[in-house]
Symmetry: C3
Subunit: 269 residues, 3 copies
């Protein structure tokens, strides 16, 4: 009985309190995160779906002209798709990059709040522009579908997280948001708190011959997050190698507080 009660209490606690770190990005095993969406949403035609990281996707077929103008979007994009999440910016940006490859859309706005539900990193707000609403919807669907893959490059415990993403061929989203050269291999090597990122960055650059495109730190290029990171390009094998070396040292360092970092999705590297 004690075990049952403990379980019951924990469910209630997690429901009321939330986890305060990125760990809750993970859905229950064998269940899609879109399984228990309430029926009321049937009336909201703009709703597309939800995904890991408290991510939500919508589509607006015909954005109101006043808002369109205010946000200074290109007039050719009548339809927009929007991805927004509380936890994570990297996974959603990687997924959105896949989405622009797969659809006739462009990422026209990327804004990264300081969020993460009390964790050390960002949330995200990403807008696709499309001439046709079906393209915008498809881009949002593709992005949501890719969440488990790209959260697979994130590991977290109560003290922080690492995120080590790799793309064999960066497209328009990664170019616009992070300065990745179009069509080239791209890597993101990131750790939080920022001190962990620094060691990952140093180890990664020493391990492989990559070109460093830029770095991120609490006061440089982030939205005041507690993250340290580099963005790299170069030969695809070298980029992969740098990403893996950075990830491994970062996860080891994160365990210094006694709790192993847990991968939040399905690792792809």
């Amino acid at each position: 009985m004690e075990e049952q009660l403990l379980d019951k209490v924990m469910k209630e606690v997690m429901r009321r309190v939330g986890s305060g770190d990125a760990a809750e990005a993970k859905p229950a095993e064998g269940k899609s995160i879109n399984d228990n969406i309430p029926k009321d949403l049937a009336g909201v035609t703009e709703f597309v779906g939800i995904g890991m990281g408290d991510t939500l996707g919508i589509v607006i077929a015909n954005l109101d002209p006043a808002i369109h103008k205010l946000m200074d979007f290109d007039t050719k994009y009548r339809s927009i798709g929007i991805i927004g999440g509380r936890v994570g910016a990297g996974p959603q940006l990687m997924a959105a990059d896949d989405a622009v490859k797969a659809t006739n859309t462009e990422v026209i706005r990327v804004e990264l709040p300081r969020d993460c539900k009390g964790g050390a990193g960002h949330g995200c707000f990403i807008i696709f522009g499309a001439e046709d609403v079906s393209d915008a919807r498809r881009a949002v669907e593709v992005t949501l579908d890719m969440m488990p893959k790209y959260f697979g490059a994130v590991s977290a415990n109560d003290q922080g997280h690492t995120e080590c993403q790799y793309s064999a061929r960066a497209s328009q989203c990664l170019n616009k948001a992070l300065g990745a050269p179009l069509g080239k291999a791209f890597g993101l090597i990131l750790g939080a708190p920022a001190v962990i990122g620094m060691l990952m960055v140093d180890a990664a650059v020493k391990a492989a011959d990559v070109e460093v495109l830029g770095y991120l730190s609490p006061g440089h290029g982030t939205s005041l997050t507690n993250e340290g990171a580099i963005l790299v390009t170069g030969d695809s094998g070298a980029v992969r190698q740098a990403v893996i070396v950075g990830r491994d040292v970062g996860n080891t360092l994160l365990s210094a507080w006694g709790e192993e970092a847990q991968c939040l999705g399905t690792p792809y590297l």
Copy 2:
């Protein structure tokens, strides 16, 4: 017994952990949030009271000249009243606007931290200037008294929140902080995460003929919060209509994660 124990555990958990979102802004039913203030505070004559959203109000009869000068306040305001909260900026700003109407004070400083105790929004820091300390005190009291009303325009669950405020006649605080035209109807339509705000904004503007004064997003006009919002004015009926339409679609969208958004105060619309 199990139920009793569960209840006991939850109380302890909430005490130690805090809620991580705006939900804890709500006091227990039938109890004033000012009921159990410790006696030690009797010695602190500057203390005025507390309110929802971990809001606290104080008054300083005669601000130290060095601080007064450093903060560059108008010398005619010897006395200041201060409202500060961890959760929420909108409710406190709306209430402070009522307070300047009701007293001989002016809002002389508004600063909005990125806070919300792990939630997606702001905290607040609002300063009233007054020539007379009793005016400053009264402004703080009025503001605290109005908290339950204006938190009634906020709904929240673990994923985010909506805030849809309406004023029939904006005064000096809303003018200074948000650019509301003096004496005109004013509406704030806001959702978090920002993706929810975007749908609310679009729906609101399509539903009623209002003038959009400006928009807020993670990278534009907020303190890096995960919020999307517009500020509107126009005919009072139209502003009300826009606010209600925005609120309803926002709350429906928030429920996509399976938990309904709860209103934090007493709704006034």
Copy 3:
């Protein structure tokens, strides 16, 4: 049994959820925070140790030249020591100031994220430069060792915190990060939410004849934290007095919500 169960549940809750405020900076009594570091870290030669406030210290003997250049560090500093924490900036800065006094190092970078794990304040990212790796390591060790002392100047409850630090003789770190005059007495008087800081500041300046070097507020000099603070210098007795007066009124005010603020370390004043 009920008590045992409650205890078990709370441990599990705190492990999964984290505390959402600065309170968890405190280690269990009679135990060093460095007692249960996993053996895997033995392979990471850069790891130095951990401390209160989810602080971690590392040393990099020979920072990669590409990163060195990108971060624009003085070339004479081949070795760097890094301190990073999720909770707190003041304690780590005070401790790092002791460390530069005790070693042949200089603080070459201070960046303060908006963090605090859902609390109202900063995290930190502090880098020591050294010509010799043993100096960098020693600076990091000294900093970590001083955490319990300087967290002794921090008190917190679920609503906020106060931090009132005093140095008889500021050195290069406090000079660089906070503008403290070298070799002079220095005080930091800070409260969160910012409204609490304002009363502390006013009380402190009225209580003692100190020179105010500057102030911090959500929109001025902080990383959008919900903090109000002043930095003071002057006669060491006066600075001490100002710090103590500010602290006491701040802690009384923090208790307005019904929970006394707990000191997080070992008070030194």
